[in-house]
């Protein structure tokens, strides 16, 4: 099993994992329920061959030589004795009142019988009936790559999900490529991945000529917590110990205790940012850190939560250390990022940590390209 949670480990059975994979992906354009390029591996977008429980058969396989796009297509060599097919096993949640379009490419070689694409509607308790896709879903004989666009206009009563198929009934060979299921009117680019334009970026737009020195409010805690919010625990404004100015934020830690102070910052996701602070620690156990977690405008996160380098934790404090300046550059944010939350945190530790002059500084677009290695 695999979960997109950041803190819960993976696992559950194979098919359940497939079901989870069936959920909409963020890198498909909005309105696309499924996209499969048949890129050489099963389970891509939830697709499986009908013979997988027998270890698969060479007659249902990927073909690197005959394809529309990408590295492979799906090739099915038919048999007079059985239907051979691939199925999008995870299914797709639908709104039966909407119209969807099943699109893709098919090529056939001497198919005696039919190569076809199909969609099976399911209700709450299982399969209901095939969706009528019309004669455009059937392919016979020999033909070069042919584009199909089949509307799904009418579903059996009680339909909740639809499962897609690619099938050969009879002899001959059929190739299938670049399958998608999308809401009517949604353009699906070849390759399936969303092409970002500047308008697709969330958040704000900063001008290179007028970049703020710091997006965080009250970075030095001179005015108290100000825009910072104590999510849990009791942080202290320390007016006797300061790295810069006249105050700092102190967290007194205890085992199993938590103290987290955060600030939400809207930003320009096209840019890199320098995150820095002054830090002093007297820790007998545990680590302090700044966590940075990006969010979409609707408040949803990005699955694994990591910002970069496989982590969301930065600028750790440990042991005993006098005031020092620490910094890291956050090189890349997803285009959908509307805001980040910056957390100053000390959890399940023993001792004290002081935070001061916390800064989140946008870089110019040229600097952003440079730090991203472009």
């Amino acid at each position: 099993m695999t979960t997109p949670s950041r803190s819960v480990a993976l696992g559950v059975a194979f098919l359940a994992a497939l079901a989870a994979q069936g959920a909409g992906r963020t890198d498909w354009p909005a309105g696309v329920l499924n996209y499969c390029g048949f890129e050489g591996r099963w389970d891509e977008a939830g697709w499986r061959d009908s013979a997988w429980m027998q270890g698969g058969i060479p007659e249902i396989d990927f073909d690197a030589n005959t394809k529309v796009h990408g590295r492979y297509s799906l090739r099915i060599i038919g048999s007079p004795d059985e239907d051979r097919y691939a199925i999008q096993l995870a299914g797709n949640d639908i709104d039966a009142a909407k119209v969807y379009v099943f699109q893709g490419w098919v090529k056939t070689d001497n198919v005696q019988g039919t190569a076809k694409v199909a969609a099976l509607a399911h209700g709450e308790k299982g399969p209901l009936d095939w969706v009528n896709l019309g004669p455009g879903a059937l392919f016979t004989g020999t033909r070069d790559w042919t584009r199909f666009e089949l509307p799904l206009r009418s579903f059996p009563e009680g339909s909740k999900r639809v499962y897609l198929y690619a099938m050969v009934r009879g002899t001959g060979t059929a190739w299938f490529d670049e399958f998608s299921l999308a809401e009517e009117g949604v353009e699906v680019p070849l390759g399936g991945e969303k092409v970002y334009t500047d308008a697709d970026y969330a958040g704000l737009r900063f001008d290179d000529g007028a970049l703020a020195e710091n997006l965080l409010q009250g970075p030095g805690f001179e005015e108290g917590l100000g825009s910072w919010v104590a999510e849990v625990g009791t942080p202290v404004i320390d007016r006797k110990v300061a790295g810069e100015g006249t105050a700092s934020l102190r967290i007194d830690a205890e085992p199993e205790g938590r103290c987290v102070v955060y600030q939400r910052v809207r930003l320009d996701p096209r840019r890199a940012y320098r995150l820095s602070l002054s830090l002093k620690t007297e820790l007998r156990l545990g680590l302090s850190c700044i966590r940075v977690i990006p969010f979409r405008a609707d408040g949803s996160g990005f699955g694994w939560w990591f910002v970069q380098d496989h982590t969301s934790e930065f600028l750790h404090g440990r042991g005993r250390s006098g005031w020092r300046r620490e910094e890291i550059v956050l090189r890349h944010l997803r285009p959908e990022t509307d805001y980040v939350v910056v957390y100053l945190t000390l959890e399940d530790a023993e001792g004290k940590a002081w935070f001061d002059d916390v800064r989140l500084t946008p870089l110019s677009l040229a600097e952003t390209k440079a730090v991203a290695g472009q």
Binding site: T3, S7, V8, L10, A19, A20, A23, W52, L285, L287
Partner: protein, 490 residues
């Protein structure tokens, strides 16, 4: 106010506008400690959140009772504490009420308890919540994790893992350093699950990118992490799967050992092997034994299918002369995502007894807690020990009782009591720990054992004296703690 325990109104806050169709009153419970599991002797408290959405009536009453959960067919729960408190909640506001359920002096320790909280207005009940809670001590580990059989997918709540007695965790590997430090401090061994192995298998990542990541990860964090697992639930069912799987294991193993020759590489997990048993022989033929230190499987099928699968695994190892420790880094109840909590809790005893008796060295239960997803993915929460609201399910106490009773024990024998009856004996310090249950109809079982006091440990964690030598095996497994070794079971 009538109360055996203290109930205090803490605060009131304004609510956002009520939505159409919302009930006039709502009741929610909040745990004041993780999973509402308290230290023995500590006062157990929870918060009741009373929301008045639309009622013009301000006055309401919160009442509660805390009781045990007996499992016998006719057993009645015993109410230990109860109380009620009036609250005044104006329309559009909410109030938090602290309910003191009792302490170690008034409530049983180490077993699953339930609190029922009811909200009444004008003498009529308008809302009710039932949640689990209880008391478990923090157990400081006395032996290295390597001697423990007990893993849990958790990646969180380290002190709570010590209450459960879990000694292994298997987080999705990332470079967050604090969990590594906690893992070390709380003596819960991390088995770092490197999902990039699956990406390499699927060619979503190049082999070089994958091995670089393994090398960097091991090199950078070997001071924290010794055990590395190369991927999760590979598709070995297609005929080209085993070859590709072993190739990914080889590359990752070499990279990990380059970075830390002392590290232990747990092979990528194989799940549902019964789908195609031949895959195992194909993995071994492709050289899997050379590229891992531990074999790993997930067992989600019923016990009979699991037994067949384990037999195939052992047979394959024997025929290839490739012995290595076998782990199970995921297992859960049957059905995995359905059934009752009582059934699931029972499977904690069943799975561990059955797998340990089959020479599986470390077994990880799936899972401590599961996020609140919609649809199919959300159903996996059935496997969790703690519910979405962070209250304990019965299985918290099953797991804690299991680890307390069996940590340091060794499997001694499985008794033949007829089809569908499981009697699996472990030994520790002169006492036998006999797991007993039936997969079919209840069956009377007679146990011959040395003289001396014995106990029966239910899946709730309830411990009761064992009277006489005959008892009925049911689908609710029990652990019999008796002077050992057992002489006969039949």
């Amino acid at each position: 106010m009538r109360a055996l325990s203290v109930a205090t109104c803490l605060l009131t806050v304004s609510l956002a506008g009520a939505q159409d169709g919302a009930k006039p009153w709502e009741l929610a419970l909040r745990a004041t400690r993780y999973a509402a599991v308290f230290n023995p002797g500590e006062e157990a408290t929870i918060q009741a959140i009373v929301r008045n959405r639309t009622s013009e009536q301000k006055a309401a009453t919160v009442s509660f009772e805390a009781k045990d959960v007996p499992l016998g067919p006719n057993a009645q729960p015993k109410v230990y504490t109860y109380g009620e408190v009036p609250v005044s909640v104006a329309k559009g506001t909410e109030a938090a009420v602290r309910l003191t359920l009792g302490s170690g002096k008034s409530l049983p320790q180490g077993e699953y308890l339930e609190v029922t909280v009811a909200l009444a207005c004008d003498g009529a009940e308008v809302a009710r919540c039932v949640k689990g809670f209880g008391f478990l001590e923090r157990r400081q580990p006395k032996a290295p994790s390597e001697e423990s059989h007990f893993g849990l997918l958790a990646a969180m709540q380290w002190p709570f893992l010590q209450r459960l007695g879990a000694r292994w965790d298997r987080p999705n590997w990332n470079w967050d350093e604090r969990p590594m430090e906690w893992s070390r401090r709380y003596a819960v061994r991390t088995v770092a699950l490197i999902n990039e192995a699956n990406q390499a298998f699927d060619r979503r990542m190049t082999m070089d990118e994958y091995t670089d990541f393994v090398r960097q990860s091991v090199s950078r964090y070997k001071r924290y992490v010794k055990y590395w697992q190369l991927g999760n639930e590979f598709d070995v069912f297609h005929r080209n799967g085993p070859q590709r799987f072993v190739e990914v294991q080889r590359a990752g193993y070499q990279a990990a050992k380059e970075a830390d020759p002392e590290c232990v590489v747990v092979g990528g997990s194989i799940t549902d092997l019964h789908v195609r048993f031949d895959a195992w022989d194909e993995c071994l033929s492709a050289g899997l034994a050379k590229w891992c230190d531990v074999y790993d499987f997930h067992f989600y099928a019923d016990l009979a299918t699991t037994q067949k699968t384990i037999d195939v695994i052992h047979a394959g190892i024997a025929s290839h002369h490739a012995p290595k420790p076998i782990w199970c880094t995921e297992t859960a109840g049957v059905p995995t995502t359905g059934g009752t909590e009582r059934n699931k809790a029972g499977y904690i005893y069943k799975r561990y007894a059955h797998l340990l008796a089959n020479d599986i060295q470390v077994v990880f239960w799936h899972v401590l807690w599961w996020p609140h997803f919609e649809g199919e993915a959300g159903k996996i929460a059935m496997t969790a020990l703690v519910d979405w609201d962070n209250f304990a399910k019965m299985s918290v106490f099953t797991y804690a009782t299991l680890t307390r009773e069996v940590e340091g024990a060794r499997f001694t024998r499985r008794w033949d009591c007829g089809e569908g009856v499981y009697a699996i004996e472990f030994a520790r310090g002169g006492r036998a720990k006999l797991f007993l249950w039936t997969e079919g109809e209840p069956k009377p079982i007679t146990i011959a054992r040395p003289a001396g006091g014995g106990f029966r440990l239910l899946i709730t964690g309830h411990r009761e004296p064992l009277a006489g030598g005959t008892l009925t095996a049911t689908s609710d497994p029990v652990i019999l703690d008796v002077p050992g070794p057992v002489k006969a079971v039949g």
